[in-house]
Assembly symmetry: C2
Homo-oligomer: 135 residues x 2
C-alpha cells in the first residue's frame, strides 16, 4: 500500500460511516500521534488512539463530514455534529505516512462548551481503558 | 478585484505579519461572519469582526502560520502561537467571496485551556468595544 490520499479518503469515509473498527485500526500507523481538542499533551500509539477515535465517533451525534482539503499527504476534514444539545464544528488535520496510514491527527473543535461536554463523557472512559491496560 | 485565492493569501500573510489593520479591513466583506473558538453564536459585520481579529492577533504571541490548504474559494490556514505560557494550535477556515474578500471565517483552536485564556483576555475588550459602539 503506497501513499494514495484519494484511496485513503474513500476508505476513511466508509470506515466512519460504517463504524468499521477493524478498518479504522488498519488505517492507523503503529506510532500514530493524536492531538485531542481539550489537551496539549498528545495521545500516542495505535491502540490508545484507536480507542479514543472510537469514543469520539460514539459520543458525537449526527457526525457528518463537510469541507475537505488535501495537499499531498496532508488532509483537512471539516466535520459537524452534536454533543447533547450542543452543536459543534470540528476539523481533523491528518498527516498520512508512506503507506497511507494516519501518522498524525489533530482534532480541533468549537465551541468551548462542546469540547468540555465531549471531555466530560470521554475522559472517564479513557481513564478506565488506560487503567485496565496497565494492570 | 475578482476571486484570486493566491493573491488573497499573499496579501493575508503580509497583513498578518505587518499587523496592517487597514489592509485587514479591506479584505473583509461588509457582512463577514466569524465563528470564534469559545462560542457557537457567530460574530457578524465588518467592524466587529475586524476588531475581534485585531484582538486575536494582538493576544496570541508568536503567531505563525503553518500548513495551508485551498480548494477554490475555501481556504484552511493552520497557525500556532501562545497565550501566556500555553502553547496553542489553531486553524482559520475561510470562505472568500467573488471579490476575494473574507465572507466567512471559522477559528478553531486547541487546547481548551488556551481557548479559555484567550477568551478571558478578549471578552472584556470586546464588551467594552460593543458598549462604546452602542452609545
Amino acid at each position: 500500500m503506497a501513499l494514495d490520499p484519494d484511496a485513503f479518503l474513500t476508505d476513511w469515509h466508509r470506515i466512519v460511516a460504517e463504524r468499521d473498527l477493524d478498518g479504522l485500526r488498519a488505517r492507523l500507523a503503529e506510532d500514530v500521534s493524536l492531538g485531542a481538542p481539550p489537551y496539549w499533551t498528545r495521545i500516542e500509539g495505535r491502540e490508545v488512539v484507536h480507542h479514543l477515535l472510537d469514543l469520539i465517533l460514539e459520543t458525537i451525534e449526527d457526525f457528518t463530514y463537510h469541507r475537505e482539503w488535501r495537499e499531498g499527504a496532508e488532509l483537512a476534514l471539516e466535520f459537524r455534529g452534536r454533543v447533547g444539545d450542543l452543536d459543534l464544528q470540528g476539523i481533523d488535520l491528518i498527516t498520512l505516512d508512506e503507506r497511507s496510514r494516519v501518522a498524525n491527527i489533530d482534532v480541533l473543535m468549537r465551541p468551548a462548551a462542546a469540547i468540555a461536554a465531549l471531555r466530560d463523557v470521554i475522559a472517564p472512559k479513557m481513564t478506565a481503558f488506560l487503567s485496565a491496560r496497565s494492570t
